[in-house]
Amino acid sequence: MTPETGGARILVIDDEPEIRRLLKVALSAHGYVVLEAEAGQKGIDRASLDHPDLIILDMGLPDVDGLEVVKAIREWSSVPIIILSVREREDDKVAALDAGANDYVTKPFGMDELTARIRAAFRALIPGENSPVLEVGDLWMDLSKRLTSVSGKEVSLTPTEYELLKYLATNADKVITHKQLLTRVWGVDFVPDIQYLRVYIGQLRKKIEPDPSRPIYILTEPGVGYRLAGSISD
């Protein structure tokens, strides 16, 4: 049971009865109340009528495209949306994330992975938590002093590296798309070019990861973006 979300209501929009059943059993066991919808339009209706605290949305629905569901819900609600999608459809995922979905999990997924995403989404909702200190595993950042350290040892970062890491760390456990990172760190006018991102992420890893070839902090989400693994401290 997660204390901060006990009893939260989660709407599952998926046309597969087996997936809905699995999620109902597993999420109920985690203390969530599960609502169900088996099609896109019905999901949009339930979202507006029942006001769930979080939505788990399958991208491959029979009636409406998952992306359309995200857009429809985002017209009037900022409820966290986590997308379920198969590996082969990265572009759909990115489009949904850029349209306002909060995160995604690739099918087939581990339940611990999904619950970690749910917790991260709820954490992001808690207001007033403007602590200047971020702590993820052995990684520690003091935003007021622009200090970063790993296992108690200070690391020196270039301004760009610092901004990158800060953005990822303030969104720990949440996927950040390439586009989001590029516009956030380099600015909106910057022509988004993934090469810059690859180079800086590589440099960052060299400075903070124990083994840059097997990263434990900055995880790559193929075709989508990066995620700072916050669950290390969970």
């Binding site: 090469q195 690859r198 590589g202 070839s213 097997r214």
Partner: protein, 508 residues
């Protein structure tokens, strides 16, 4: 004023000048020419008119000649009264000479024109036949045929062929918006020609009211298609001429089409045979590869749900772990199958982006989760490797397959080493294991589809993973090979080309 008009006016002036000269010269020289000579001299402008102009100008010149001759030389002078019936003969001869010359020269002119036209058509057909031999697709061939026919005949042309699903369709038209191509009735006429193997349209016994003239493309007893041209505006003589041309082009089109269709048919049979063999191997491999994890999953689940035995927590965890591993194995297999289907589909496109190979290795190793935990896994990535323009997911899949292979075919607990470095061939990545050496003669064949080596004591693979690795590396323009390690074990190596990229701006 056109060249033709200018030429004509000069001809008229010459005729007038000749008439004037003959009249003046004969008149002023008095008795030097007798009257018969004068009559002969008046033939000059008439012959000139016959040779250079049309028949009506020749007749007019003949009449003018007779009038002048009568007026100035035949007594009584300066009247057109003819006292002697003798001069009627002169008049008739003048006319006959004018008309005959004109007709003969007309015929000559027409002959020349025809010869020139025939020469042009022969050249057009020669050009077309050269162009056709270089083409291997039916669609391209059809396009060339109709444009060739349209150029040579000056009419809209259309070619009908049965398509891939054997439906008779308009394959190409020189003017797709023209009536010949858009009128449905025309398609019906072409269909009739295709069915009965006989020509139809204007000038034939069948459907002479049609817009187009259609001829079948016949090879031995088979009708390959139908070629037609729009003859709705033609006169009868043009129709006959164009029909001859159409038939000639139809012969040429038949030959070219037959050649292309034959080679396509041979290729199709070859593909069918190969895909049959592959399908068989795929079923063999899949039934084994899918059943093994399924057996362990179903076995473990039924153990847990059965009520006969009470398992200890430790045993339960073990059974659940079996399910987890079996499912992960099936997931990898399904990924490989999907990748194979994607790579072999016609619409396959690489999704390349700039990638850090270290990132690719990290994602591939992370995919194994706990499976690599009891294996010493060493990763050596050279400093400052260039970024690669590759399909991230596919290269991850290559590494996953190579590591999976190493896991399967090397003893439990033995080391697996992944290395990436920059060489002249590009970025070279290798995965080394300590498994039993692959025999030298087998090293090249391990990348063949569904090829498996029987090594006692090791798990059997699908024979799919390595062949997918090869396909993926091939589409990236790299190369992949296997070698044995001097110290024992095998090494799978692939290289990826390095592409120039823009330099980055911020200094470190």
């Amino acid at each position: 004023m056109t060249v033709e008009q200018r030429r004509r006016i000069i001809d008229y002036l010459v005729i007038l000048a000749l008439l004037a000269v003959v009249t003046i010269v004969c008149k002023t020289t008095g008795k030097f020419f007798n009257i018969t000579d004068v009559a002969m001299l008046y033939l000059l402008p008439i012959i000139y008119a016959g040779a250079r102009t049309d028949i009506w100008s020749s007749v007019a010149t003949a009449i003018a000649g007779v009038l002048l001759f009568d007026l100035f030389f035949v007594p009584p002078l300066y009247t057109i009264t003819v006292s002697d019936a003798h001069y009627i003969v002169t008049f008739v001869i003048f006319l006959l000479v004018g008309i005959t010359t004109s007709v003969i020269s007309d015929r000559l002119k027409n002959k020349t024109k025809e010869t020139e036209a025939a020469l042009g058509q022969t050249r057009a057909m020669y050009d077309l036949s050269t162009e056709l031999t270089a083409v291997s697709s039916v669609r391209e061939l059809s396009r060339i045929i109709v444009s060739g026919v349209a150029d040579a005949t000056g009419s809209d042309a259309a070619l009908y062929l049965p398509d891939r699903s054997n439906v008779f369709t308009l394959m190409a038209a020189s003017n797709p918006e023209g009536r010949l191509a858009t009128d449905r009735n025309e398609g019906g006429v072409a269909g009739w020609v295709f069915e009965y193997g006989q020509e139809a349209g204007p000038g034939t016994d069948t459907l002479p009211g049609a817009r187009g003239l259609y001829v079948p493309l016949k090879w031995e007893d088979e009708i390959l298609g139908v070629l037609g041209i729009d003859v709705s505006e033609e006169t009868n003589s043009d129709l006959a001429r164009k029909k001859v041309l159409l038939l000639a082009f139809a012969g040429l089109a038949t030959l070219a089409l037959n050649k292309v269709l034959l080679s396509a048919a041979t290729q199709h049979v070859k593909n069918l045979e190969a895909s049959d063999k592959l399908r068989g191997a795929l079923f063999d491999s899949m039934s084994h590869e899918l059943r093994t994890p399924l057996a362990s999953i179903i076995g473990a689940v039924t153990s847990l749900t059965g009520s006969e035995v009470a398992y200890t927590d430790e045993q339960k965890i073990e059974l659940l772990d079996t399910i987890n591993k079996g499912a992960a194995r099936m997931d990898r297999l399904v990924r490989n199958l999907l990748d194979m289907a994607r790579l072999e589909s016609d619409s396959f496109k690489l999704k390349t982006e700039w990638c850090d190979i270290q990132d690719v290795i990290g994602v591939a190793l992370a995919a194994f989760g706990e499976e690599l935990e009891n294996r010493p896994t060493v990763v050596n990535v050279e400093e400052d490797l260039p970024l690669l323009k590759i399909d991230f997911e596919l290269i991850v899949q290559v590494l996953v397959n190579l590591v999976d292979n190493a896991l399967k075919y090397s003893p439990p607990g033995s080391k697996i080493e992944t290395t990436a470095r920059h060489e002249s061939a590009g970025v070279v990545v290798s995965v080394e294991d300590q498994g039993p050496k692959i025999p030298n003669e087998e090293l090249n064949r391990v990348f063949d589809k569904f090829y498996r080596i029987e090594i006692p004591g090791t798990a059997a693979g699908s024979g799919l993973g390595l062949s997918i690795c090869k396909s993926i590396i091939d589409v990236h323009g790299g190369s992949i090979w296997a070698e044995t390690r001097p110290g024992g074990g095998n090494r799978f190596v692939f290289s990826l080309p390095v592409v120039e990229r823009k330099p980055e701006s911020e200094t470190r």
